[in-house]
Amino acid sequence: MTPEEIVAHLQEVDASFVERSDIQFGQGSVWIPRDKWVAAATHLKACGRCRFDMFNFMSGVDWPDDDQIEVVAHLYSVRRQHHLNMKIRVPREGGSVPTLSGVWRGANWQERETWELFGVAFEGHPHLVKLLLPEAFEGYPLRKDFLLMTREAKEWEGREEPGPPDSSPRPGRVPSPAAHAPAHGEAP
């Protein structure tokens, strides 16, 4: 099916499945409301016309301006050879998404990864522990306000910071100019 047909089909099955849809570069995305997330996923996998039998990947995208994190699950159908991005937006603080690990087994690890890198909790996940990062790691590295460690220790001229330009804190161990520069008229 083409992306348009998949969206139309989803709306036909249950109008509340699709919050918003969008096609970019020929690839379809649907935003699904939180309470329909698992139901829509179950339908997409089981329905004979969709048959999304492969859970390709899941990840997040941080949008600090909207104070939201977008969780993306990419589905592919080996049988029908079509793609779909399932998307959901959650607040950055305390956001959670129902788990898909009961629908596709592959969601288990993908959700663990999304949780540790973005701080989005997955409700009902059987084993939500750190996957790539060490146990004691603090913070969510793929959020935009998490700076690269090397950049935090040493600023790089001509740098391209991942975050908004003015959000970078002063490099470590460098006091602010007010603290080390002599006040006007004082002996250095």
């Binding site: 390709n56 990947f57 790539l132 590295p141 793929l142 690269l148």
Partner: protein
């Protein structure tokens, strides 16, 4: 010495009726173990010799590529992605070049596309030879490893002539390639196809027809196709489970729709099938390379009109390529800047390794390495 007679004071434990009572044991495999090709730890729970539970512990080589990509422009990312699956560096970089070109709507000259295909297939053979050799080594056969490195050396020399690199090629550019092929490259490549095809028979003789090899791999670690798809397993492992899914065929990128090749599949999805599919994939790659030799046109390798700055327009797109170990895709989110807002790497080894908790329970400890080795993966590709 002992108070009382022998045996006195020793409590005799009598097992319940029927089976002998056993106790579970937790065993650590790795992080340093030859069969893991890097640092992967598998915590297995044993009941006697039988594995009851397995939990891979990954992340020892996590280098934060996705974060690093957000601080680099698209040209720099090509050098970066060379490094996650270090055995198929060219396959990785071509994916990034393709997705940026697709988003920008850049037209790539046909010669560049054909050369990309040629390099991607040579790189695939380079990767598969490594696993052909090392899998034999894991099962106790030393010779295939030496043979594999003999062929790898020849292919690396060929690729080095064009790219200057032996492991990390960084030959792709957004829009085309770094350099054209050197003089005599295609003739050398043609000779090498014949050589590798001839020498492949050595592996078939040493391993595929080997009674010990067959006994250790046939019926061991069977993965059904439905479960494989559920886990997002791709590449030779999925094909060995009987599913002919290969994005070179189903969603052709580059010029794969203009060449003839087949996707080999297995029938049982066991370790032997996975190895056999890998072997057949080399034959198919050689077939593709031969056709590329005939079709490669003359012409430029970079578009005449290249934009001064490379900026992908706003939007998101996921592009997948069939890399050596499976589907390697990049999900790019751009805000119209010269560096991506977010780049998700969908690496084949990550999904393939996530299937290990399904594959290992029920098998015996002596089969562990035979099964783990047949889930061909590169740890850098798992951890990124």
């Amino acid at each position: 010495m002992f108070p009382g007679g022998p045996g006195e004071g020793v409590e005799l434990i009598v097992a319940g009726e029927g089976a002998l009572a056993t106790e579970e044991m937790v065993l650590n495999i790795g992080p340093q173990h030859p069969s893991t090709h890097g640092v992967l730890r598998v915590v297995i729970t044993l009941d006697g010799e039988r594995i009851t539970d397995a939990e891979p512990v990954i992340g020892y080589m996590h280098r934060g590529f996705e974060k690093l990509a957000e601080a680099r422009d698209y040209r720099q990312i090509i050098a970066l992605v060379n490094r996650h699956d270090w055995l198929s560096a060219f396959g990785n970089e071509v994916g990034v070049a393709l997705i940026v070109e697709k988003m920008m709507g850049l037209e790539v000259p046909p010669r560049a596309t054909w050369i990309r295909m040629l390099m991607a297939e040579w790189n695939r053979i380079l990767n598969h030879l490594m696993f052909l050799g090392s899998y034999g080594l894991e099962l106790g056969a030393m010779t295939p490893m030496f043979y594999a490195f003999r062929e790898r050396e020849e292919i690396q020399a060929l690729m080095e002539a064009a790219t200057g690199g032996r492991l990390h090629f960084t030959y792709c550019r957004v829009g085309g390639l770094k350099d054209d092929l050197p003089k005599g490259f295609l003739q050398h490549s043609q000779k090498l196809v014949k050589l590798v095809r001839h020498r492949l028979l050595d592996y078939a003789g040493l391993l595929l027809g080997n009674e010990i090899f067959k006994k250790r791999t046939i019926g061991v670690g069977t993965l059904p196709g439905d479960v494989a798809k559920d886990y997002g397993v791709t590449g030779p492992i999925l094909q060995a489970s009987g599913i002919a899914e290969d994005s070179r065929l189903t969603e052709p990128y580059l010029f794969y729709d203009q060449v003839d090749f087949e996707v080999p599949t297995g029938s049982n999805g066991d370790s032997f099938d996975r190895f056999h599919v890998l072997y057949q994939r080399i034959e198919q790659s050689l077939r593709i390379i031969e056709q590329v030799h005939d079709k490669i046109p003359a012409g430029p390798i970079i578009p005449a009109k290249m934009p001064k700055t490379i900026k992908a327009p706003e939007g998101n797109y996921y592009l997948r390529t069939e890399n050596s170990l499976g589907e390697c895709g990049y999900y790019m989110v751009s805000t119209g800047d010269k560096r991506p807002w977010r780049m998700k790497m969908r690496t084949p080894s990550f999904s393939n390794v996530s299937m290990i908790p399904y594959l290992l329970p029920g098998i015996l400890v002596p089969d562990l390495i035979a099964v783990l080795g047949s889930v061909f993966f590169v740890v850098g590709d798992v951890d990124r």
